[in-house]
């Protein structure tokens, strides 16, 4: 799964948060299934060429939030999705939607026009 990860150190967002959000997206999007084995902190750090402390911070957060499970002496795995968990793909889209709406408003694009643009792109895919 390493090749699915990618961070941009020069974005203003902390690297650990970029990594955290990406892994959550992979889980919600189904690319990572329950019990899938995760690469070690060291492997991720080496692959992304970032400080292992940063990776370990992201992993710790994912463990605390119940996304992944740490097992003694064994690699971490993706935790089973709790059925009460309601994190949907849609809620992860929110920041992008916020950006899009802000930009549309700055450019004076009407809601109907924006919706039409989205619909057109959607149909073309």
């Amino acid at each position: 799964m390493l090749e699915l990860l990618n961070v941009n150190p020069s974005s203003g967002e902390p690297i650990y948060r970029q990594l955290h959000d990406q892994i959550v997206r992979l889980i919600v999007g189904g690319q990572l299934q329950a019990e899938d084995v995760l690469p070690s902190v060291r492997q991720m750090a080496e692959f992304l060429a970032v400080n292992p402390m940063t990776v370990s911070r992201a992993v710790q957060q994912l463990v605390d939030q119940g996304w992944i499970e740490r097992r003694r002496g064994q690699p971490s795995i993706v935790a089973a999705r709790n059925c009460t968990d309601n994190t949907s793909g849609g809620s992860l889209m929110q920041p992008k939607v916020d950006d899009l709406v802000t930009q549309a408003q700055q450019l004076g694009v009407e809601l109907a026009e924006l919706q039409a643009l989205i619909a057109k792109k959607w149909a073309a895919k």
């Binding site: 150190p9 020069s10 400080n51």
Partner: protein
């Protein structure tokens, strides 16, 4: 990074003044600077040319003496470092020198003899990785190769304190990345501390656990890099706005109808009267804003 540990390197109110040639004025290279490096820290030192980065490093090594304040290098005074302490420090200056007239392997033979903890296997690995020809004469190496050799000479004994002055400027991107992984290994596995300066902010963003920003000899910021990204923001505010008390203003630029404020200690989603916009910054942007 437990604060009850003994720091590997500690600056306490350090001031260093250089006399300027020809007239009676002086130049303050370090101005009441305090900073502590603990095991596991990789500290990226950022500052303009002439901000005091190299001076700071030379003072830590005892190459320069300070005018006031004190420094503890491996818990000793840098002016009178013991042999044991010296054998636990690695240093790569901006322009590596020495071993002119030696071939690479003879230079390494001699250098190795000074260090009991030298790891021959590590040395061989790195020679291979940097593709250094050991029969080549040191004088004939390119700038990048010379730098690679200096890195091997400073790191093959896994020093407790590693000080690197612009270490990777002449290395190609692939060599730089691999070198960074080595830095982590050293810092985390051997519990060492690394202090390095670089103008390549994207490298710094990857490798550093902490960033120290120096401006005109003063330490402006010293923070964990993730915290820095979350707490240092560029705020655009109206001229009559009232800034919250907790903000620490690093720099301020006034324009006709608003002010740009570079502030530390921001909370997530600041909200106060007169705030027009808030922007996160990467290191390069932060650096530019600070020197506007």
């Amino acid at each position: 990074m437990q604060q009850n540990e003994v720091p590997i390197l500690a600056f306490n109110n350090v001031t260093k003044v250089f006399p300027l040639k020809g007239n009676k004025t002086t130049h303050t290279a370090l101005d009441q600077l305090s900073m502590q490096l603990y095991p596991g820290m990789v500290v990226g030192l950022l500052g303009q040319n002439g901000a005091g980065k190299s001076t700071l490093m030379r003072c830590a090594l005892g190459i320069l003496t300070v005018d006031s304040g004190d420094i503890k290098t491996l818990n000793e005074s840098p002016a009178v470092l013991s042999d044991t302490a010296k054998s636990r420090i690695g240093y790569v200056p901006q322009q590596p020198f020495g071993y002119e007239g030696f071939t690479v392997d003879r230079a390494l033979d001699l250098h190795r003899s000074f260090y009991v903890d030298w790891d021959k296997q590590l040395e061989q690995e790195w020679l291979k990785r940097f593709e250094l020809d050991v029969t080549q004469s040191v004088q004939k190496l390119s700038v990048g190769q010379r730098q690679s050799l200096a890195l091997i000479m400073a790191m093959a004994y896994r020093p407790t304190l590693l000080i690197l002055d612009e270490p990777v400027a002449s290395l190609d991107p692939i060599a730089r990345r691999k070198f960074m992984t080595d830095l982590f290994d050293l810092a985390l596995e051997s519990g060492s501390a690394v202090l390095f300066s670089s103008h390549i902010t994207s490298d710094l963003e990857r490798v550093a656990s902490h960033v120290a920003l120096i401006k005109k000899g003063k330490l402006v910021l010293f923070k964990e890099i993730d915290t820095l990204r979350e707490q240092v923001k560029l705020l655009k505010v109206s001229v009559d706005s009232e800034l919250p008390q907790h903000l620490d203003i690093l720099h301020q630029t006034n324009t006709a109808d608003s002010m740009l404020i570079l502030a530390d200690n921001c909370q997530s989603q600041e909200q106060f009267n007169g705030l027009i916009s808030e922007q996160s910054l990467n290191l390069e942007q932060l650096f530019m804003e600070l020197h506007r």
